[in-house]
Symmetry: C2
Subunit: 184 residues, 2 copies
DNA sequence: GGGCGCATGTAAGCCGTTACATGATTAT
DNA sequence: ATAATCATGTAACGGCTTACATGCGCCC
Protein backbone atom coordinates (compact mmCIF):
# COMPACT_ATOMS: atom_id res chain seq x y z
CA UNK A 1 0.00 0.00 0.00
CA UNK A 2 1.69 3.13 -1.16
CA UNK A 3 0.58 6.49 0.18
CA UNK A 4 -0.33 9.29 -2.09
CA UNK A 5 1.58 12.38 -1.06
CA UNK A 6 0.01 14.78 -3.50
CA UNK A 7 -2.84 15.91 -1.20
CA UNK A 8 -0.30 16.70 1.50
CA UNK A 9 1.61 18.84 -0.95
CA UNK A 10 -1.59 20.80 -1.58
CA UNK A 11 -2.25 21.19 2.13
CA UNK A 12 1.33 22.35 2.56
CA UNK A 13 0.87 24.92 -0.16
CA UNK A 14 -2.21 26.27 1.61
CA UNK A 15 -0.16 26.86 4.75
CA UNK A 16 2.43 28.60 2.60
CA UNK A 17 -0.07 31.13 1.29
CA UNK A 18 -1.27 29.57 -1.97
CA UNK A 19 -5.01 29.27 -2.04
CA UNK A 20 -6.28 28.54 -5.54
CA UNK A 21 -5.57 25.57 -7.75
CA UNK A 22 -4.06 27.90 -10.28
CA UNK A 23 -1.68 29.49 -7.78
CA UNK A 24 -0.61 26.10 -6.50
CA UNK A 25 0.18 24.89 -9.99
CA UNK A 26 2.23 28.03 -10.66
CA UNK A 27 4.14 27.54 -7.46
CA UNK A 28 4.89 23.89 -8.10
CA UNK A 29 6.04 24.56 -11.65
CA UNK A 30 8.25 27.37 -10.47
CA UNK A 31 9.78 26.11 -7.28
CA UNK A 32 9.15 22.45 -6.58
CA UNK A 33 9.59 21.48 -10.19
CA UNK A 34 12.78 19.49 -9.74
CA UNK A 35 11.36 17.11 -7.17
CA UNK A 36 7.60 17.32 -7.51
CA UNK A 37 5.24 17.72 -10.46
CA UNK A 38 1.51 17.89 -10.68
CA UNK A 39 -1.09 18.56 -13.34
CA UNK A 40 -4.45 20.33 -13.25
CA UNK A 41 -6.04 16.96 -13.90
CA UNK A 42 -4.84 16.00 -10.44
CA UNK A 43 -5.08 19.27 -8.59
CA UNK A 44 -8.75 20.08 -9.04
CA UNK A 45 -10.17 16.67 -8.14
CA UNK A 46 -7.76 16.45 -5.22
CA UNK A 47 -8.84 19.83 -3.84
CA UNK A 48 -12.46 18.79 -4.14
CA UNK A 49 -11.72 15.65 -2.19
CA UNK A 50 -9.87 17.55 0.52
CA UNK A 51 -12.99 19.65 1.08
CA UNK A 52 -15.20 16.56 1.17
CA UNK A 53 -12.93 15.03 3.78
CA UNK A 54 -12.97 18.16 5.89
CA UNK A 55 -9.28 18.92 5.45
CA UNK A 56 -9.95 22.22 3.70
CA UNK A 57 -12.66 24.82 3.33
CA UNK A 58 -13.47 26.58 0.10
CA UNK A 59 -14.81 30.05 -0.60
CA UNK A 60 -15.89 31.11 -4.08
CA UNK A 61 -14.97 34.66 -4.99
CA UNK A 62 -16.40 36.47 -7.97
CA UNK A 63 -14.03 38.82 -9.67
CA UNK A 64 -14.81 41.49 -12.21
CA UNK A 65 -13.49 40.69 -15.62
CA UNK A 66 -11.81 37.56 -14.33
CA UNK A 67 -13.05 34.01 -13.90
CA UNK A 68 -14.44 33.00 -10.55
CA UNK A 69 -11.88 31.99 -8.03
CA UNK A 70 -12.07 29.19 -5.50
CA UNK A 71 -9.98 29.87 -2.48
CA UNK A 72 -9.02 26.91 -0.37
CA UNK A 73 -8.07 27.25 3.27
CA UNK A 74 -6.75 24.44 5.45
CA UNK A 75 -8.93 23.41 8.41
CA UNK A 76 -7.68 22.38 11.87
CA UNK A 77 -8.24 18.77 10.85
CA UNK A 78 -6.18 19.32 7.72
CA UNK A 79 -3.44 20.92 9.78
CA UNK A 80 -3.38 17.90 12.02
CA UNK A 81 -3.04 15.57 9.07
CA UNK A 82 -0.28 17.65 7.54
CA UNK A 83 1.60 17.74 10.83
CA UNK A 84 1.49 14.00 11.31
CA UNK A 85 2.59 13.44 7.71
CA UNK A 86 5.56 15.75 8.22
CA UNK A 87 6.53 13.77 11.32
CA UNK A 88 6.37 10.39 9.63
CA UNK A 89 9.83 9.37 8.46
CA UNK A 90 10.32 8.67 4.79
CA UNK A 91 10.34 4.95 4.25
CA UNK A 92 11.37 4.27 0.69
CA UNK A 93 13.62 5.98 -1.76
CA UNK A 94 12.17 6.96 -5.10
CA UNK A 95 12.96 4.14 -7.49
CA UNK A 96 13.93 5.92 -10.58
CA UNK A 97 13.48 4.08 -13.80
CA UNK A 98 16.63 4.97 -15.60
CA UNK A 99 16.42 4.63 -19.35
CA UNK A 100 20.13 5.23 -19.86
CA UNK A 101 21.16 2.45 -17.52
CA UNK A 102 18.67 0.12 -19.16
CA UNK A 103 20.14 0.82 -22.58
CA UNK A 104 23.68 0.52 -21.30
CA UNK A 105 22.87 -2.83 -19.80
CA UNK A 106 21.77 -4.19 -23.17
CA UNK A 107 24.61 -2.55 -25.09
CA UNK A 108 27.23 -5.23 -24.72
CA UNK A 109 26.90 -6.02 -28.43
CA UNK A 110 26.85 -2.41 -29.55
CA UNK A 111 29.83 -0.64 -31.05
CA UNK A 112 31.78 1.47 -28.61
CA UNK A 113 31.05 4.64 -30.57
CA UNK A 114 27.31 4.16 -30.06
CA UNK A 115 27.70 3.77 -26.32
CA UNK A 116 29.98 6.79 -26.13
CA UNK A 117 27.46 8.83 -28.04
CA UNK A 118 24.71 7.83 -25.62
CA UNK A 119 26.88 8.90 -22.71
CA UNK A 120 27.80 12.20 -24.34
CA UNK A 121 24.24 13.21 -24.94
CA UNK A 122 23.20 12.15 -21.46
CA UNK A 123 26.00 14.18 -19.95
CA UNK A 124 24.81 17.17 -21.90
CA UNK A 125 21.33 16.89 -20.40
CA UNK A 126 22.85 16.56 -16.95
CA UNK A 127 24.94 19.67 -17.46
CA UNK A 128 21.92 21.66 -18.55
CA UNK A 129 20.01 20.55 -15.49
CA UNK A 130 22.94 21.42 -13.26
CA UNK A 131 23.18 24.82 -14.83
CA UNK A 132 19.50 25.49 -14.23
CA UNK A 133 19.82 24.60 -10.57
CA UNK A 134 22.90 26.76 -10.24
CA UNK A 135 21.17 29.76 -11.80
CA UNK A 136 18.16 29.51 -9.52
CA UNK A 137 20.39 29.15 -6.50
CA UNK A 138 22.43 32.22 -7.40
CA UNK A 139 19.28 34.18 -7.96
CA UNK A 140 18.05 33.21 -4.49
CA UNK A 141 21.36 34.10 -2.88
CA UNK A 142 21.30 37.54 -4.48
CA UNK A 143 17.82 38.29 -3.14
CA UNK A 144 17.59 41.51 -1.16
CA UNK A 145 14.98 40.35 1.32
CA UNK A 146 14.94 36.54 1.53
CA UNK A 147 11.78 34.92 2.84
CA UNK A 148 11.80 32.29 5.55
CA UNK A 149 11.36 29.67 2.83
CA UNK A 150 14.56 30.58 1.04
CA UNK A 151 16.97 28.44 3.11
CA UNK A 152 14.77 25.38 2.57
CA UNK A 153 14.51 26.10 -1.08
CA UNK A 154 18.28 26.25 -1.34
CA UNK A 155 18.60 22.97 0.51
CA UNK A 156 16.45 21.19 -2.06
CA UNK A 157 18.40 22.77 -4.90
CA UNK A 158 21.64 21.59 -3.34
CA UNK A 159 20.29 18.07 -3.37
CA UNK A 160 19.71 18.35 -7.10
CA UNK A 161 23.13 19.86 -7.62
CA UNK A 162 24.92 17.22 -5.58
CA UNK A 163 23.32 14.22 -7.24
CA UNK A 164 23.53 15.67 -10.74
CA UNK A 165 27.18 16.54 -10.26
CA UNK A 166 27.84 12.97 -9.14
CA UNK A 167 26.12 11.65 -12.25
CA UNK A 168 28.29 13.87 -14.46
CA UNK A 169 31.44 12.53 -12.83
CA UNK A 170 30.17 8.99 -13.33
CA UNK A 171 29.58 9.75 -17.02
CA UNK A 172 33.17 10.90 -17.46
CA UNK A 173 34.56 7.85 -15.73
CA UNK A 174 32.33 5.52 -17.67
CA UNK A 175 33.40 6.99 -20.99
CA UNK A 176 37.03 6.35 -20.11
CA UNK A 177 36.19 2.83 -19.07
CA UNK A 178 34.33 2.11 -22.30
CA UNK A 179 37.23 3.42 -24.36
CA UNK A 180 39.57 1.06 -22.53
CA UNK A 181 37.40 -1.97 -23.31
CA UNK A 182 38.40 -4.31 -26.09
CA UNK A 183 36.05 -4.29 -29.06
CA UNK A 184 34.83 -7.83 -29.54
CA UNK B 1 3.83 11.41 -25.85
CA UNK B 2 6.04 9.35 -23.62
CA UNK B 3 7.45 6.11 -24.88
CA UNK B 4 7.04 2.92 -22.98
CA UNK B 5 10.41 1.27 -22.55
CA UNK B 6 9.26 -1.87 -20.83
CA UNK B 7 8.77 -3.94 -24.02
CA UNK B 8 12.32 -3.08 -25.07
CA UNK B 9 13.56 -4.32 -21.75
CA UNK B 10 11.84 -7.64 -22.43
CA UNK B 11 13.30 -7.85 -25.93
CA UNK B 12 16.71 -7.08 -24.48
CA UNK B 13 16.30 -9.86 -21.96
CA UNK B 14 15.49 -12.30 -24.76
CA UNK B 15 18.79 -11.45 -26.46
CA UNK B 16 20.52 -11.98 -23.14
CA UNK B 17 19.23 -15.53 -22.81
CA UNK B 18 16.08 -15.15 -20.76
CA UNK B 19 13.13 -16.69 -22.48
CA UNK B 20 10.18 -17.12 -20.13
CA UNK B 21 8.25 -14.46 -18.25
CA UNK B 22 9.28 -16.07 -15.04
CA UNK B 23 12.97 -16.02 -15.90
CA UNK B 24 12.75 -12.39 -16.95
CA UNK B 25 11.12 -11.39 -13.71
CA UNK B 26 13.80 -13.22 -11.74
CA UNK B 27 16.51 -11.49 -13.70
CA UNK B 28 15.02 -8.03 -13.27
CA UNK B 29 14.52 -8.50 -9.56
CA UNK B 30 18.04 -9.76 -9.18
CA UNK B 31 20.10 -7.53 -11.42
CA UNK B 32 18.23 -4.55 -12.81
CA UNK B 33 16.38 -3.94 -9.60
CA UNK B 34 18.04 -0.63 -8.77
CA UNK B 35 17.04 1.09 -11.99
CA UNK B 36 14.17 -0.94 -13.42
CA UNK B 37 11.24 -2.76 -11.90
CA UNK B 38 8.45 -4.74 -13.43
CA UNK B 39 5.58 -6.92 -12.25
CA UNK B 40 3.98 -10.02 -13.67
CA UNK B 41 0.90 -7.97 -14.31
CA UNK B 42 2.95 -6.12 -16.89
CA UNK B 43 5.21 -8.87 -18.16
CA UNK B 44 2.67 -11.38 -19.39
CA UNK B 45 0.41 -8.98 -21.29
CA UNK B 46 3.48 -7.27 -22.75
CA UNK B 47 4.94 -10.55 -24.00
CA UNK B 48 1.62 -11.44 -25.58
CA UNK B 49 1.59 -8.12 -27.37
CA UNK B 50 5.14 -8.53 -28.60
CA UNK B 51 4.12 -11.80 -30.25
CA UNK B 52 1.05 -10.17 -31.80
CA UNK B 53 3.23 -7.44 -33.24
CA UNK B 54 5.71 -9.92 -34.64
CA UNK B 55 8.58 -8.85 -32.42
CA UNK B 56 8.83 -12.23 -30.75
CA UNK B 57 7.89 -15.85 -31.34
CA UNK B 58 6.59 -18.15 -28.67
CA UNK B 59 6.92 -21.90 -28.20
CA UNK B 60 4.96 -23.77 -25.56
CA UNK B 61 6.90 -26.52 -23.86
CA UNK B 62 5.27 -29.15 -21.70
CA UNK B 63 7.34 -30.28 -18.79
CA UNK B 64 6.84 -33.32 -16.62
CA UNK B 65 5.83 -32.45 -13.12
CA UNK B 66 6.22 -28.75 -13.86
CA UNK B 67 3.81 -26.20 -15.28
CA UNK B 68 3.87 -25.52 -18.98
CA UNK B 69 6.49 -23.11 -20.10
CA UNK B 70 6.22 -20.46 -22.78
CA UNK B 71 9.52 -19.68 -24.34
CA UNK B 72 9.82 -16.37 -26.12
CA UNK B 73 12.42 -15.75 -28.81
CA UNK B 74 13.10 -12.42 -30.48
CA UNK B 75 12.38 -12.20 -34.23
CA UNK B 76 14.45 -10.29 -36.80
CA UNK B 77 11.83 -7.54 -36.68
CA UNK B 78 12.13 -7.41 -32.91
CA UNK B 79 15.91 -7.24 -33.20
CA UNK B 80 15.58 -4.30 -35.53
CA UNK B 81 13.30 -2.47 -33.11
CA UNK B 82 15.62 -3.14 -30.21
CA UNK B 83 18.62 -1.90 -32.16
CA UNK B 84 16.98 1.36 -33.16
CA UNK B 85 15.83 1.93 -29.59
CA UNK B 86 19.37 1.40 -28.33
CA UNK B 87 20.61 3.99 -30.83
CA UNK B 88 18.07 6.63 -29.87
CA UNK B 89 19.60 9.03 -27.37
CA UNK B 90 17.90 9.41 -24.02
CA UNK B 91 15.91 12.61 -24.03
CA UNK B 92 14.66 13.22 -20.53
CA UNK B 93 15.97 12.50 -17.11
CA UNK B 94 13.80 10.54 -14.74
CA UNK B 95 11.92 13.09 -12.63
CA UNK B 96 12.01 11.59 -9.26
CA UNK B 97 9.26 12.57 -6.91
CA UNK B 98 11.20 13.05 -3.75
CA UNK B 99 9.12 12.75 -0.61
CA UNK B 100 11.93 13.90 1.66
CA UNK B 101 12.48 17.13 -0.25
CA UNK B 102 8.74 17.76 -0.26
CA UNK B 103 8.57 17.38 3.49
CA UNK B 104 11.65 19.49 4.01
CA UNK B 105 10.15 22.23 1.91
CA UNK B 106 7.11 22.42 4.15
CA UNK B 107 9.08 22.10 7.37
CA UNK B 108 9.93 25.73 7.93
CA UNK B 109 7.58 25.77 10.92
CA UNK B 110 8.73 22.46 12.33
CA UNK B 111 11.10 22.15 15.24
CA UNK B 112 14.71 21.56 14.29
CA UNK B 113 14.74 18.23 16.08
CA UNK B 114 11.98 16.92 13.83
CA UNK B 115 13.83 17.92 10.68
CA UNK B 116 17.05 16.40 11.96
CA UNK B 117 15.25 13.17 12.71
CA UNK B 118 13.88 13.06 9.18
CA UNK B 119 17.37 13.54 7.79
CA UNK B 120 18.85 10.91 10.06
CA UNK B 121 16.40 8.25 9.05
CA UNK B 122 16.78 9.14 5.38
CA UNK B 123 20.53 8.89 5.64
CA UNK B 124 20.14 5.47 7.17
CA UNK B 125 18.15 4.26 4.18
CA UNK B 126 20.75 5.71 1.85
CA UNK B 127 23.54 3.94 3.67
CA UNK B 128 21.73 0.63 3.47
CA UNK B 129 21.24 1.06 -0.24
CA UNK B 130 24.86 2.00 -0.71
CA UNK B 131 25.92 -1.05 1.22
CA UNK B 132 23.78 -3.30 -0.94
CA UNK B 133 25.33 -1.91 -4.11
CA UNK B 134 28.81 -2.28 -2.68
CA UNK B 135 28.19 -5.91 -1.73
CA UNK B 136 26.91 -6.82 -5.18
CA UNK B 137 29.83 -5.07 -6.81
CA UNK B 138 32.36 -6.90 -4.67
CA UNK B 139 30.68 -10.18 -5.41
CA UNK B 140 30.94 -9.47 -9.13
CA UNK B 141 34.60 -8.48 -8.87
CA UNK B 142 35.41 -11.72 -7.04
CA UNK B 143 33.80 -13.86 -9.73
CA UNK B 144 36.08 -16.49 -11.18
CA UNK B 145 34.76 -16.42 -14.73
CA UNK B 146 33.03 -13.11 -15.42
CA UNK B 147 30.54 -13.01 -18.28
CA UNK B 148 30.59 -10.35 -20.95
CA UNK B 149 27.71 -8.64 -19.12
CA UNK B 150 29.70 -8.15 -15.92
CA UNK B 151 31.45 -4.86 -16.89
CA UNK B 152 28.12 -3.31 -17.85
CA UNK B 153 26.53 -4.52 -14.70
CA UNK B 154 29.29 -2.90 -12.67
CA UNK B 155 28.84 0.35 -14.56
CA UNK B 156 25.20 0.55 -13.55
CA UNK B 157 26.07 -0.26 -9.95
CA UNK B 158 28.65 2.51 -9.95
CA UNK B 159 25.95 4.93 -11.00
CA UNK B 160 23.89 3.92 -8.01
CA UNK B 161 26.92 4.16 -5.74
CA UNK B 162 27.94 7.59 -7.02
CA UNK B 163 24.54 9.23 -6.70
CA UNK B 164 23.75 7.60 -3.37
CA UNK B 165 27.10 8.65 -1.96
CA UNK B 166 26.41 12.22 -3.10
CA UNK B 167 23.04 12.14 -1.36
CA UNK B 168 24.68 10.96 1.87
CA UNK B 169 27.15 13.83 1.76
CA UNK B 170 24.27 16.23 1.14
CA UNK B 171 22.46 14.82 4.20
CA UNK B 172 25.45 15.47 6.42
CA UNK B 173 25.86 19.00 5.18
CA UNK B 174 22.18 19.71 5.53
CA UNK B 175 22.10 18.52 9.11
CA UNK B 176 24.90 20.91 9.97
CA UNK B 177 23.09 23.72 8.23
CA UNK B 178 19.86 23.04 10.08
CA UNK B 179 21.67 23.01 13.41
CA UNK B 180 23.15 26.41 12.62
CA UNK B 181 19.73 27.92 11.91
CA UNK B 182 18.04 30.04 14.51
CA UNK B 183 14.91 28.54 16.01
CA UNK B 184 12.11 31.01 15.41
C1' DG C 1 0.44 -30.83 6.61
C1' DG C 2 2.60 -26.53 5.20
C1' DG C 3 5.52 -23.71 2.75
C1' DC C 4 8.45 -22.81 -1.07
C1' DG C 5 9.80 -22.85 -6.01
C1' DC C 6 8.17 -23.16 -10.61
C1' DA C 7 4.94 -21.13 -13.90
C1' DT C 8 1.12 -18.39 -16.01
C1' DG C 9 -2.20 -15.35 -16.01
C1' DT C 10 -6.51 -11.76 -14.99
C1' DA C 11 -9.18 -7.92 -12.78
C1' DA C 12 -9.61 -3.97 -10.12
C1' DG C 13 -8.02 0.06 -9.12
C1' DC C 14 -4.73 4.05 -8.45
C1' DC C 15 -1.91 7.63 -10.08
C1' DG C 16 -0.98 10.58 -13.45
C1' DT C 17 -0.78 12.84 -18.23
C1' DT C 18 -2.89 14.78 -22.21
C1' DA C 19 -6.31 16.66 -24.72
C1' DC C 20 -10.33 18.98 -24.70
C1' DA C 21 -13.76 22.66 -23.27
C1' DT C 22 -14.88 27.43 -21.79
C1' DG C 23 -14.30 32.38 -21.59
C1' DA C 24 -12.96 37.13 -20.30
C1' DT C 25 -9.10 40.60 -20.27
C1' DT C 26 -4.76 42.55 -21.58
C1' DA C 27 -0.69 43.14 -24.10
C1' DT C 28 1.61 42.93 -28.85
C1' DA D 1 -5.90 39.74 -35.10
C1' DT D 2 -3.82 36.75 -31.87
C1' DA D 3 -1.37 35.26 -28.13
C1' DA D 4 -0.80 35.12 -23.33
C1' DT D 5 -2.65 35.26 -18.60
C1' DC D 6 -6.08 34.13 -15.44
C1' DA D 7 -9.13 30.36 -13.95
C1' DT D 8 -11.65 25.87 -13.56
C1' DG D 9 -12.71 21.71 -14.80
C1' DT D 10 -13.66 16.67 -17.31
C1' DA D 11 -12.80 12.40 -20.10
C1' DA D 12 -9.94 9.17 -22.03
C1' DC D 13 -6.29 6.66 -21.67
C1' DG D 14 -1.77 4.54 -20.21
C1' DG D 15 1.34 2.45 -16.92
C1' DC D 16 1.79 -0.03 -13.06
C1' DT D 17 0.75 -2.46 -8.60
C1' DT D 18 -1.85 -5.56 -5.91
C1' DA D 19 -4.64 -9.12 -5.07
C1' DC D 20 -6.49 -13.07 -6.64
C1' DA D 21 -6.61 -17.68 -9.05
C1' DT D 22 -4.53 -22.21 -10.30
C1' DG D 23 -1.73 -26.29 -9.64
C1' DC D 24 2.13 -29.67 -9.33
C1' DG D 25 6.41 -31.36 -6.89
C1' DC D 26 9.64 -31.29 -3.31
C1' DC D 27 11.41 -30.78 1.24
C1' DC D 28 10.86 -30.49 6.26
Amino acid sequence: MKENHTPYALLGLMTAGFHTGYEMKQMIDGSLNHFWKISYGQIYPALKKLVEEGSADVKVTSQEGRPDKKEYVITPSGEEQLRSWLLKPVEDLPVEKNELLLKLFFSRNQEKSVILHQLDSYEEILQEKRHTYQSIKEMLLREACPSQDTPFWIITLDYGLATTEAAVVWCEKTKVRIKEMKEE
